[in-house]
Amino acid sequence: MSVKVLYFASLKDKVLKGEDSLELPEDVTTVEDLINYLSENDKALKAAFEEMPRLRFAVNQEMAKESTKIKDGDEVAFFPPVTGG
C-alpha cells in the first residue's frame, strides 16, 4: 500500500523533509506500525520520535491514535505542539 506522510514544524527540520510518499509492506496496518516501520528505516525519524514525546499524528486530517488503521492512499501527518509566542 502507498501512503503520503507529512512532517510539520520542528519535526520537519529534524528530518529535513516535509513529506514522503511511501510503499509500505503489508504488515503495516496501523499508525503504530508506521511509526515502527519509519523508525527502522530512517535514523533521523527514529531519533525524532524518541526526542519528541509530545508528537501527535493525524490520518486524513483527523486526529489519530497509535491504534488507528491506515489504508492505501491515506495521508498520515506527524506534528508537535508549537508553544512559542
Binding site: 510539520f8 514544524a9 514525546p53 501527535r56 486530517q61 486526529m63 505542539p81 512559542g84 509566542g85
Partner: protein, 247 residues
C-alpha cells in the same frame, strides 16, 4: 456618534447585525501574554472596541522583543509589558476599559481573571502555562483561543468550553515531559507571530459576535516559508486525564 464612526467599517460588514458591535462593546477579553502574539491580538481587539481588555504579563520590555512585539517601543524598555501594552491600547482607543495585570498570576489569580472574562487568549510562550490556562477555562466554561509560533511554524485553535463536550488542550496535546522550543533559542519570524496574533483576535471577535466559523475542534498549522496551511480536526480524547475526571 463617535462610536458609530469609529466602528463603521465593521458595522458595514454583512456578517454584522445591529447588535454585533454592541456585543463586542459589552464583552470582556483576557489576554495572557503581551509578547509577539499578545501585541497584535490586543491592538486589534482594542481597535475593534472590545469593552474591557485585561492584558497580563510579568516581564519587562527588552530590546530583543521589539523585532516582533509591536505594541512596545524604544521608550518602554525596562517597563512592565502589561503596563506598556495598556499605554499603547489607550492611545489607540480611549473609549474602552483597559487593565494591566503586571505580575505573573498565581493559579488563584489566574482563576479569578478567567472567571471574570468572556473569552481568553493564550498568548504565552511556553508549554507549562498552557495546561493550567486550558483547565481553568474549561472549569469556568470560557472559550479559549490558543496559538503558538516558533521559527517559521505556527499553530492556532479554539476550545469552546461553553460546549460541555469540547475537547481540551490536553486532549490535543497530552502533557508529556519535553523541552520547549522557544524564540530565544530557535528564533521566530516576526510577521508569522504577528499573523497568528491577528488570527487570535479574529477568533475572539467571531466568538463574541457569533458570526463566521471559529476554529473550534480544528488545529490550523502554517509554514510561513511558503504560507502553506494545513488543518486537522480533533475531538475529546477518551484517554484525556483532564476530561476523564468528569466522567
Amino acid at each position: 456618534m463617535e462610536k458609530e464612526n469609529r466602528y463603521s467599517r465593521h458595522v458595514l460588514l454583512k456578517e454584522f447585525d445591529a447588535h454585533t458591535q454592541e456585543k463586542i462593546s459589552a464583552s470582556k477579553v483576557l489576554i495572557i501574554g503581551a509578547g509577539g502574539l499578545g501585541s497584535p491580538a490586543s491592538l486589534y481587539l482594542a481597535s475593534s472596541g472590545v469593552g474591557r481588555i485585561t492584558i497580563a504579563d510579568g516581564d519587562t520590555v527588552d530590546l530583543t522583543n521589539l523585532q516582533r512585539q509591536v505594541i512596545h517601543n524604544m521608550s518602554r524598555i525596562g517597563m512592565n509589558k502589561a503596563t506598556s501594552a495598556k499605554a499603547s491600547l489607550e492611545a489607540m482607543n480611549s473609549e474602552i476599559d483597559i487593565r494591566a495585570f503586571t505580575h505573573r498570576p498565581s493559579l488563584e489569580e489566574l482563576e479569578e481573571l478567567i472567571a471574570d472574562h468572556d473569552v481568553v487568549l493564550d498568548c504565552t510562550d511556553n508549554t507549562a502555562s498552557r495546561y493550567p490556562i486550558s483547565e481553568l477555562c474549561r472549569r469556568h466554561k470560557k472559550p479559549l483561543v490558543t496559538a503558538g509560533a516558533v521559527a517559521f511554524d505556527g499553530q492556532i485553535t479554539v476550545f469552546d468550553y461553553r460546549d460541555p463536550d469540547s475537547a481540551c488542550y490536553a486532549c490535543l496535546f497530552p502533557n508529556h515531559d519535553g523541552a520547549d522550543e522557544k524564540a530565544s533559542t530557535k528564533g521566530v519570524f516576526a510577521p508569522l507571530v504577528g499573523t497568528l496574533g491577528c488570527m487570535q483576535a479574529s477568533e475572539a471577535l467571531k466568538i463574541i459576535g457569533g458570526f463566521g466559523k471559529p476554529l473550534t475542534g480544528e488545529l490550523l498549522m502554517v509554514d510561513a516559508r511558503s504560507w502553506s496551511w494545513w488543518h486537522m480536526k480533533y475531538s475529546r480524547s477518551e484517554d484525556c486525564p483532564c476530561c476523564a475526571k468528569e466522567k
